[in-house]
Symmetry: D2
């Protein structure tokens, strides 16, 4: 264990913090950075080393993982004035686990390549709980020869590491999955709500859907109707889980990606609008399955 | 076997014909009727008895199954000038396997009750193949005490007979399932199409969705992208399966039902419009998974 | 004036009451009926004659106007146990100003014709204010030869009486207009909201739209953004005007009509869903231009 | 006239070419550039001067107008290796008439300001015909003090020059107008199609809409139904006018802008999807009012 070389970690937020700690647990010396001093402080107190900028991290570590909230943050961390690329070493492996526009991933990859380093996009599926438990799923895009090197690190934080293809396909896979997830979740909420209003018992209806062609993850594993399943956000007033704002963000990425590739996504587009409206109607911090609650509210004159 | 009393069967179309024949195979003497003489002729040639009207069927049989294309047909067959109710016997069991508006089922049920008979709605899931093989799924609504009597007949034609609740809930369950099915199918088509345009291999993307939260029947059992699965309509130029016009019809029922109960179904409603447009763009007779083909067509200046 | 024969009026609600009173003002003896005794009482106190049932009205008057809230009410008033048709005189002129499904208008028309009387559908545009002021717009469907006779009465209550074609086309014209109105109103709200968020002054943006191809009644006559125009509901906290529930009702009719004629109405269908959701989110009694307020609400974490 | 200083013009496409020629007609010496040599050749043959790059144009002229097809083109022309900013003179006035993302306009404006020059966005409304006739409408964003200087040039090419506010608001106004236009056009097509199927005469229906609250530019000035109006694309097989691909492009900009500002635009978003689908179904080069034809196609089994 003693001989492990340092791993850089940039972005110590709700997700990044437990991810970086899992690297530490696996014996990797971690050199970290976050734009918020408090996030750095907390991490430092747990025994890790904290740098002053992404550039400084790149000076110390030739394997770096970034976990950032949005495309502009990622661009800044890589290509900004004190960005990774200012001091990156040749041959470094840079892995971005942020969920961002795959076109931006490709641009960053080009800039990284020019410096003689390697870039992979590796967005995650699974929330804070999975980050803590170290069982995230990583969807990885980049040069296939580097996948094993990336996997070595990612398996410390996730139980599932999938190679998706060239740079940007990790983002693509995540965006496509989440768009379909949003669509099936709203569809499940609509179908359950309509069935209940037509006199069906919710548990019975869920059972029927799950043995029929309407079956989906949202109906059989994460049912949005309170009382149908245990241990899911709908059983706990839609607390925890995957927040409505995060789903709205991912659908926004799907929308932009679809617009730029001229791909028709009528339901994905409407799903985006619905989650956007929910954000403004008090559902921002609830789990995204709360769309059932949003749709079931009744007219009240 | 010799002592079985006759069973009436009205509606000998693509679905009704093989269903009625399965009753015959199980030893039930069938007395049948269809508004099209050719349909009657074909059935008579196979050894069954054919009547001149629904009323005549009701005179001969105290258990009757109806399988009709739409709400107005069902109303006519039950309450029309030569309808079942003209000669129905007290205590008769009338089972309607048509897919119609549950509100219409309830109206028919009331009229049937007034005559001292029993009505159940029992729409099916599964197509012509399942009708022939006798493994349809029946979703049954009506008085629970009569369910066993209905089940005795329905198990001759289906492998799955589910009690859903009071009259109309069989229709409700079918409509809700098919609405969710349409939504997930279009969603799967959108997600697969977007992923492919973003550089993902279709089989790999399907595999990723199926192990993630985007998983649904349309992605893991009936994938709409040619080349991803064997033995599904997408592998056979979208022939066979469940036709786009039939899906559009069921979505129309969902729409009317939702409108009448003031239930918001934004995605169900848009799914209806998409299948409606597909019907007019040459997809009417293709399997409903052809929505992938409809969406993938590229701009061609 | 003395020689005018009585005119029947059935349905003395918010709209019917002032309409009937305008007939009285024009010198017509009115014999009226409403299912609610209080509505009858109020009308009787103003000097008119009140009957016990639609049938009794038909016995006394050979010209009858009906103004009812929904299709089932209209069916009941015409063909129910004490309905108009029980005692209608041959040659009577029956005018229905309710907004209902044109297919129902046609069915009623058939039943009326069988009794040797004439039926016309004549839904109105304009609200309670226009009903009081006698400047409603009537869209009239029915046999053209009878149009003049209908117009004689309708001009007492409206300033605009338009002949649309055969029975049902009055309803069709109203439904189509209101569907387009809902679409343009939501579109105007979306465009104004987006423009404001992009830094445009609302008054200037409205001015630009109104001199450009985005111009519509909702932008130039009934702008939904507070502060842009005087004397419209948006200037008065969306009070008065045309209620969101009424718009949702008309869009429901458009939806059912489109479904039954297999007509694709993607935007009309989504507009319906939006007004349906608004009804459940506290906007039911606000003017339908409040969709601007519904859409502008901001995320508030 | 003799003393007029040269004006630069970059982008000599279908729109730019006649716009630049109108500047020449008004006595301005024009120095031009286009990435396509043929476009330059044609322009040179008409007596104007052609440069080798945007930078060279900037060296010769301190007032420059750019008319480019998309955001990346605009970025390249301004900030690229041979871009305007390489040789721009202090105090120059740079006017971009391209239709692009207002966020990109703002970024370009910042880069221009750093060089001590002035940037304004001034997208146009009106097509090739209006460009030739010199009666385009310009929507202008930028510092108000510079508006008069811009207007002097723009009035040579347009009959309407509107000041909208700070940089980016010209784009914003155009995008909002066109989004509302697309929505009303589709809405008009849906309403006309539904009305026709319900038995209304198209001309009569248009007349009713135009005197009612459904009235809009698409119904009263540019009606999409063949036979209703003369001199519009619908009277000429949807040739000429504003192409479906162009509308799809503008709706894509609206979509991206709305996503980035978290503004819900449900109808705008669905309108985008509909024009996107039309592009792939053979309507790419037809006028955008052809959505009527797209929606009216009937099921044909």
């Amino acid at each position: 264990m003693a001989s492990k070389t340092p791993v850089g970690f940039i972005g110590l937020g709700n997700m990044g913090n437990p991810m970086a700690k899992n690297l530490v647990k696996h014996g990797y010396p971690v050199v970290a950075y976050d734009v918020f001093p408090e996030a750095c402080k907390e991490f430092q107190d747990s025994g890790a080393q904290v740098m002053d900028s992404p550039a400084d991290v790149a000076e110390r570590a030739d394997r770096i993982i970034t976990m950032l909230p949005s495309s502009p943050n990622a661009v800044e961390v890589y290509t900004g004035a004190n960005g990774i690329l200012k001091k990156v070493k040749k041959g470094s492996l840079l892995i971005d686990s942020s969920t961002i526009d795959p076109a931006v991933s490709k641009e960053i990859a080009k800039a990284v390549e020019k410096m003689g380093a390697v870039f992979m996009d590796a967005p995650v599926s699974g929330g804070v709980g999975a980050a803590r438990a170290g069982n995230l799923t990583f969807m990885v895009g980049g040069v296939e020869q580097e996948f094993d090197a990336a996997k070595e690190l990612l398996t410390c934080m996730g139980s599932n590491v999938i190679y998706c293809g060239e740079v940007g396909t990790g983002q693509a896979a995540k965006i496509c999955n989440n768009m379909l997830l949003a669509i099936s979740m709203i569809g499940t909420a609509e179908a359950m709500n309509l069935g209940i209003r037509l006199g069906l018992d919710p548990k019975l209806l869920a059972k029927i859907l799950n043995m029929s062609s309407g079956r989906c993850w949202s109906s059989d594993t994460y049912n949005p109707v309170p009382g149908v399943m245990e241990g899911v956000p709908s059983a706990n007033n839609y607390q925890g889980g995957f927040g409505t704002t995060l789903m709205a963000k991912d659908l926004g990425l799907a929308q932009i990606t679809a617009t730029n590739t001229k791909t028709p996504v009528p339901l994905g587009s409407l799903a985006h609008q619905i989650y956007r409206m929910m954000c403004a109607k008090g559902y921002a911090l609830k789990d995204f399955s709360a769309v059932f609650q949003f749709l079931r509210e009744e007219e009240n004159l």
